[in-house]
């Protein structure tokens, strides 16, 4: 487990939609060891200021050539707002790659289910799937502007299905409908990988369990360290015996391990 805390040069900061940004930094060491589903902790703020105090966790969206890694993020509060104001040429400290990513299960269809910005942890996974002809990607969102990076996925699979609540892109409806349609067509064993809002992942997990399909989920929790030091990122275990720690044992878990409430 190699992790690096790097003062990284910002290479690109692009607004893709109203509040969605793609940030690319130069961090060769992190790039080299990044696995799908892992994340980094980013110092959003200048060193001369301690507010906000904590770094922000972001999934590794892309690894480019020449040591570049990209993050796909949404401006939701003051940390991401400050982050979005950082400009190319500025230095930003990035700690990663962190956590346990997805375990790649080959030899069966891979179904990736992303809700909104949940796609941020799925692209690297989609790229690493060994049998691209058995890669199915399902993406759901409120509207088209929430998922501005669809082409990144369409390049990787013919089986890309999109659904939006307002019908502005793909089908109209919610992602569980897509998953239902997909699962009805699947006859052999499969593996579901999902990332998105808690309630969506919960629904995905229940559908998977009904069909006995293993399901890996990528969880979020408020984090202070991202490295297992503080024990702050707890999520209840399914057996009600204590807690999982998202940054260290996760962020990816077998959905069975999690107490979904």
């Amino acid at each position: 487990m190699s992790r690096f805390d790097i003062p990284a040069n910002i290479v690109e900061q692009t607004r893709l939609a109203h509040s969605i940004f793609l940030l690319t930094v130069n961090a060769p060491a992190i790039m080299d060891s990044a696995n799908p589903g892992q994340f980094c902790m980013l110092e959003v703020q200048d060193d001369n200021s301690r507010d906000p105090l904590l770094r922000r966790p972001l999934s590794i969206y892309k690894t480019g050539s020449n040591g570049k890694i990209s993050f796909l993020y949404k401006e939701v509060g003051k940390g991401t707002r400050l982050l979005s104001k950082r400009r190319p040429g500025e230095i930003i400290r990035v700690l990663g790659p962190l956590g346990q990513g997805f375990r790649l299960i080959h030899d069966c269809p891979s179904i990736l289910v992303g809700g909104g910005l949940g796609v941020a942890s799925l692209l690297l996974l989609a790229q690493r799937i060994k049998q691209p002809h058995r890669l199915i990607v399902l993406i759901g969102a409120k509207n088209a502007s929430e998922i501005p990076t669809i082409e990144d996925f369409s390049r990787l699979t013919r089986y890309l299905h999109i659904i939006t609540e307002d019908g502005s892109l793909g089908q109209r409806g919610v992602i569980t409908e897509l998953l239902n349609q997909t699962l009805q067509k699947i006859t052999d064993m499969a593996q579901i990988y999902t990332c998105g809002p808690w309630s969506m992942m919960k629904a995905v997990y229940h559908m998977a369990r009904k069909r006995n399909i293993p399901c890996q989920v990528s969880l979020e929790a408020a984090m202070a360290c991202g490295t297992g030091l503080c024990l702050g990122c707890a999520v209840p275990k399914s057996n009600s015996q204590g807690f999982l720690h998202v940054c260290q044992e996760g962020p990816v878990f077998d959905a069975d391990q999690v107490h979904w409430g």
């Binding site: 487990m1 190699s2 992790r3 805390d5 110092e43 301690r50 507010d51 906000p52 105090l53 904590l54 770094r55 400290r93 700690l95 929790a221 408020a222 984090m223 202070a224 360290c225 490295t227 297992g228 030091l229 503080c230 024990l231 702050g232 990122c233 707890a234 999520v235 209840p236 015996q241 204590g242 807690f243 260290q248």
Partner: protein, 311 residues
């Protein structure tokens, strides 16, 4: 300004004593913010530090509080981990063997719900090799006294100190809670009860509210406030306690830079602990000894104790 004096540069000595414990420099990692040490592998060179204080251990494992356990506040962090830990036996079996290899002083932090628990744990640790001191967290609820923290009741704090001292020959550091009217009163009692050193401050009791979801930000409602926000309060308490007792004081609270550490050493702290800063940047503590040394050299100060300001 002192740093304009032109004298032969001294070679500052950073080593310090805390009771019979000798540390190579005055920078330690604070309990609860450095896990069991191994979590920092590759991110921080422990050997460069004066010491590391392990996550607070209880007699049996504790699973801690339900989430959310963290909330960020202006220049601060609220936590309600609820003292989650693997328990003293698992620690001794699984973690201690590796920790014996690090080239820095190992201090174990303990917590209990009764004087007896503190006694038992100190006795248990006394038998183990590789542990150089015990830090006693007395911010825990005293179950027999209706749940008031030991640390807010000077008599209860003294009882714990007594018990731990009786149980072990290791240096005993009592870690005080700042949530009291008069910190010097508790400090004096604890010193008279035989403590070898005092460390302070533990976190301040605080809370935050999530106005979007209309509920307290922490599931536990209250949590402990740490980070730069609390530094002025910590510094004031260190200043007061240093001038109230004769045993060494270890300063904690919001330290990030060498300048922050120097403030505490000037207030009279013998050493400092780095907590929240390690969470934010794991290597923080590593740079402090050199930063302190640079200042001492520039100002012609020979050893750490000479940093202390008069009055």
């Amino acid at each position: 300004m002192i740093n304009q004096k032109k004298t032969i540069p001294v070679c500052p000595d950073l080593s310090i004593n805390i009771g019979t414990l000798r540390l190579k420099n005055p920078v330690l990692l604070a309990s609860g913010t450095c896990g069991y040490g191994m979590e920092l592998d590759g991110l921080l060179d422990l050997d460069k530090l004066g010491g590391i204080i392990i996550k607070g251990l209880s007699i049996r494992p504790r699973s801690g509080n339900p989430p959310p356990r963290l909330a960020e506040t202006p220049c601060g962090l609220l936590n309600s981990i609820g003292l989650e830990n693997i328990g003293i036996e698992v620690f001794i079996r699984d973690k201690l063997p590796c920790l014996r290899n690090i080239q820095t002083s190992l201090i174990v932090n303990i917590l209990g719900n009764s004087v007896e628990e503190y006694f038992e744990m100190a006795k248990r640790l006394d038998r183990e090799e590789g542990i150089e001191a015990i830090e006693v967290n007395i911010s825990c609820p005293n179950v027999k006294a209706g749940g008031i923290a030991f640390g807010t009741d000077p008599e209860a704090a003294a009882s714990v100190t007594h018990a731990v001292k009786k149980a072990t020959g290791l240096p005993v550091i009592i870690k005080l809670t700042p949530n009291v009217t008069d910190i010097t009163e508790v400090a004096r009692k604890v010193a008279s009860a035989g403590a070898d050193a005092i460390s302070l401050i533990n976190t301040l009791l605080g809370m935050a509210i999530d106005i979007k979801f209309r509920r307290p930000a922490l599931a536990n409602v209250f949590g402990g406030l740490s980070g730069p926000a609390i530094k002025p309060i910590a510094l004031r308490m260190v200043w007061q306690v240093v001038r109230a007792v004769d045993i060494p004081v270890i300063g904690i609270g919001g330290i990030i830079t060498p300048d922050d550490a120097l403030e505490f050493l000037m207030a009279g702290a013998r050493a400092v602990q780095i907590g929240t800063a390690t969470l934010i940047r794991p290597s923080t503590a590593e740079d402090l000894p050199a930063g302190i040394r640079d200042y001492m050299r520039a100002n012609n100060i020979k050893n750490v104790e000479n940093l202390r300001l008069p009055a």
